[in-house]
Symmetry: D2
Subunit: 91 residues, 4 copies
């Protein structure tokens, strides 16, 4: 079965490639000895962008995999989701 | 003046390049249609790694720039730090 | 319809009453001029305890309300859950 | 020596007593079997309020205790602060 995020595949890949560029940008800043606080601001932006990717994956997973599993009477995806939400909220 | 993290420059660049690889790895997982929860687990690992980079930058900044500024009677770095800590804790 | 957390009602009330006591304890520390870092340690403990209550509510909600709604073909609880998870993860 | 937050003592006590009331309010909601998502919304509000108290304590501590210690050539408060920021950001 295809994963639930397949419909957002292109959006996810675009975002991930942008994040990769942001991380490379931070390496460049460190290399060029940019001011600490400016580097930190970029780090915060990357955290927010990664979070957005995680939330989109979680949304697609809930609306796709988990919902179909529940409709088919499969409870295991619900237990797995609860643990995933917990780990994501704490990460 | 050199930024406070200069002494950890190589460690930072190594970590950032590892994070870049992790982000590329997530793109590959999405491309190969890996299971949602497995992708999410990788996202959490990236968040934790980015956080560690942020904390190291913050530590170096506090022990370097902020401490020297205070010794020279410059309070502005303290106000800036307080705002940076707030943004970092919320990001 | 009863909310999903009814089965954990007593556990929730016990935890909330313990959190109330922890908050009162912080007031007492502030009043007695305890050391800043010691007060902060207590604040962190309260945040973790509140988080645990939120996670238990979310777990019960997913396993109860959301699961029954999906079984009855009601998608609205899923959309609401996605937003709740997002707000909780960011809070 | 008085802790750095002494100047904000009344503001802190007011906020803490408001948080105590919010926690009691959540107990009441649970007791009256309020809807899960409404309880969660209140939990998020408490987390935000607790966070604000923590940030104020941290700000006062940095501007007070840590700054004076550094001026007197005492580095130990800086090391302690770095650890406190790390714990707070992760909590």
């Amino acid at each position: 079965m295809k994963p639930s995020y397949v419909k957002d595949r292109d959006a996810l890949l675009t975002r991930l490639s942008r994040i990769e560029g942001q991380v490379r940008g931070v390496s460049r800043m460190v290399d060029e000895e940019a001011y600490c606080i400016d580097v930190l601001t970029q780090i915060n932006a990357i955290k927010a962008a990664i979070d957005q990717v995680g939330l989109l994956l979680l949304e697609d997973h809930i609306k796709g995999c988990v919902t179909s599993a529940v409709r088919q009477g499969d409870q295991s995806k619900v237990d797995e989701l609860v643990k995933a939400v917990e780990r994501f909220a704490k990460a």
